[in-house]
Symmetry: C2
């Protein structure tokens, strides 16, 4: 066929004829045609051979362009970061660079799973998800003082889906939910989808402000409180045992359910206080995922909750997702967690991050940007900008130079953080720092 | 250490000491301790070495036992089937046996992806999901006469999650939704979670009963209609072009949105009429997944909709799931679809199923169980039981003999199918047939 161009609808030579012309085997032609058909460049119809397909519009640029016109709302950081082109820098994003994660253990697990039974590669999993992974999680929780049996654990598609499923299970439209101020921006975005009212209490360096927490329970009668206890997002603070005890006492008095999102647990060197451990999974539900330390591409979250809630959660997850994570994703994670490579990976990661936090804090302080607390682990620094600087303005300026920042108010229900900013120390390279300096 | 048993809390020998005693390298001991730690049999604490862990309750039997006491409701078939032990037979379930699916192409794709960039193995994907997979889907849709650009396609965690996301986007609590009677039972279960009213119209051998459809629109003013056009679940019927045209005309007159769940598309030899193709993705939204033909373990669904709805759907999916499928799952599917093996797999599957449908129909007719239509493809036979037989009673009897059946009323909003039953011809082996014969 040489370089002659083909027009849409034109018939291609038959497999046999082309094989003869090109002096290759018919199976080589079949393979080539199959690839072209799968790419949509040619079409195959039973009995009518192959024809040239029509043209198709290219992928829209919107997939990769920063959206300069987008309002700064709870979606701002995630939307700008998730769809960022490779050259965009993301000191505002919520994850580690890909090469900091456990990709070697994931490769090993994938090669090994490629040899697994057809059932693992092709079947729906059980409704709770991989027994192997639930057993590993149950063991870990017992170590942390949370007495969870494997059948009290439900795997979900992601940590966010764990929270979403619980909101569906626990909330009615119009209910009130309590959040920390500041808190992870997606809690707000998710609760909005559930048509509930959101109230917030200020977060201190040792957990929620207890007096304001008590006041909020008395005034608003929230049904649910959602929080991170260890390495709180965005502040990096950790809950103290005293505050944990008071929070649980108040929760019991007001029949409040608590979801403890423990997604940053593995970044801690020594575990902080946990509501789930103090409470014993009675009114506290623990959720988590592996996206921050292991892989965000192999997605899986989990819920650990009181046994009598699990059946209802399973029904809801079957109805709305026909199960939890990709079974294959859960098996990859179980494999990575059950050999020693993950423990080594995490140990190295903690050391690397501790160094990065110190370096980034020094660079920021030199610019007059002051960390609010010194976190016990993880990759966030929650910082106050120099006097009079507005974080949203700064984020818009930086975005024009292809740097995604995380301005304080996206984390604040009460919009109380106009001069604060969350920095991801693992994503702060010299160009990002330079743009930040220029934009200040 | 020999056969001496260890008690909880007991300290294990140091790595160096054990390596010396056992005459192995310290790295061998580290690896062994790591495995035991990951299994939770021993604990490691920085500075204090390894100790023996406490015991843990075993996996509850509830994970694998048939639930004889469960009421026959829209969850009955999925819950009994998903958690069935390997020895349970499932002629009532909604999927093919694992070894009928594309596990060889999946193995190949996994081996190849194990060598991919760290970004693919570790990063969150873009908000719409794998560009490679969306491009393949767009090309396929253009071939089917549905003019969808890649950025009109949104990948989701599963076909069910596609439907769930759309319901969140389109519906308010209290809205009315129209279903076919009978229809896929999970449509009912899912809509219940959305707090909407459900009404239904009888499904005929060529689509919904048009007169009853018109009546339902006028009386109930539904906001949404959810249907399968090709190889309708459970009946196996396919929509005729005449009915498709009438349905769309009525939908336009009543401003009805339609979700066409095209999950069985690849089982058709010649495509039937499609609402999405006639309508051009204006008021019709197409959803689908790869769980029925390729793998239910590598989960991924998709939505193809009008471009101005995609942004809102992305925000909702970020809020409630922080994205769609595992990026790694989407890449496995893109790889399988873009070489010729999937096309060959599907061609072989269609032939195999046609033979099985004929054989199963003959066996059932010999028992007085009569197929309602002869399906154009797929693995379902929707059948009427002999006079006076109750499908729910039959299902309960068969379950006591470890056979899961799918009684008609789980598919019927109006409970109009007490004497009908859906059979999965690929899951009907001789023991299942024997139990069915005995239970009748």
């Amino acid at each position: 066929m040489g370089a002659r161009s083909l027009t849409a609808g034109e018939k291609l030579p038959s497999i046999r004829a082309l094989a003869k012309t090109m002096q290759v085997s018919p199976s080589t032609v079949v393979e080539a045609y199959d690839r072209l058909a799968a790419e949509g460049l040619i079409r195959s119809r039973p009995g009518s051979g192959f024809t040239v397909a029509g043209s198709l519009p290219p992928l829209a640029l919107a997939d990769v362009e920063p959206r300069l016109d987008r309002e700064i709302d709870p979606f701002w950081v995630s939307r700008q970061s998730l769809d960022a082109a490779p050259e965009i820098l993301k000191p505002g994003c919520g994850w580690l660079p890909a090469d900091w994660l456990a990709h070697e253990p994931v490769r090993k697990a994938m090669r090994s799973l490629a040899r697994a039974d057809a059932a693992i590669l092709a079947d729906y999993g059980s409704t709770r998800g991989s027994p192997a992974l639930r057993r590993i999680l149950a063991r870990q929780m017992v170590e942390e003082g949370i007495d969870a049996a494997p059948d009290q654990i439900l795997l979900t598609g992601s940590g966010t889906q764990a929270l979403d499923l619980l909101c569906r299970f626990l909330l009615q439209p119009g209910d009130t939910v309590l959040l920390d101020d500041p808190c992870y921006f997606n809690f707000q975005a998710l609760l909005r989808a559930h048509r509930v009212n959101v109230v917030s209490v200020p977060y201190t360096a040792s957990g929620p402000d207890v007096a304001r927490f008590a006041e909020a329970l008395a005034t608003h009668r929230p049904r649910l409180y959602v929080t991170n206890s260890a390495i709180h997002n965005p502040t990096g603070a950790s809950l103290s045992p005293q505050v944990a005890h008071k929070v649980l006492t108040l929760a019991a008095a007001h029949d409040l359910t608590i979801i403890e999102d423990d997604i940053f647990a593995d970044f801690e060197i020594e575990p902080a206080a946990r509501l789930a451990a103090l409470d014993g999974l009675s009114r506290v539900i623990r959720i988590g995922s592996f996206s921050k330390t292991l892989s965000a591409s192999v997605r899986c979250g989990f819920i650990a909750a009181r046994p009598d809630w699990i059946e209802g959660l399973i029904d809801l997850q079957v109805a709305t997702a026909f199960g939890g994570p990709s079974p294959i994703a859960a098996e990859i994670i179980a494999a990575v967690l059950s050999d020693g490579s993950y423990r080594k990976h995490i140990a190295a990661l903690r050391t690397r991050l501790a160094k990065r936090r110190r370096e980034a804090a020094a660079v920021l302080e030199a610019m007059g940007i002051r960390p609010w607390v010194e976190p016990r682990g993880g990759y966030y620094l929650w910082c106050r900008l120099p006097y009079g600087r507005d974080a949203a303005d700064l984020a818009k300026t930086a975005l024009r130079e292809s740097v995604v920042l995380a301005p304080g108010n996206v984390f604040s229900v009460a919009l109380s953080a106009p001069d604060l900013m969350r920095f991801n120390v693992a994503q702060m390279d010299s160009r990002a720092i330079e743009v930040l300096r220029r934009s200040l």
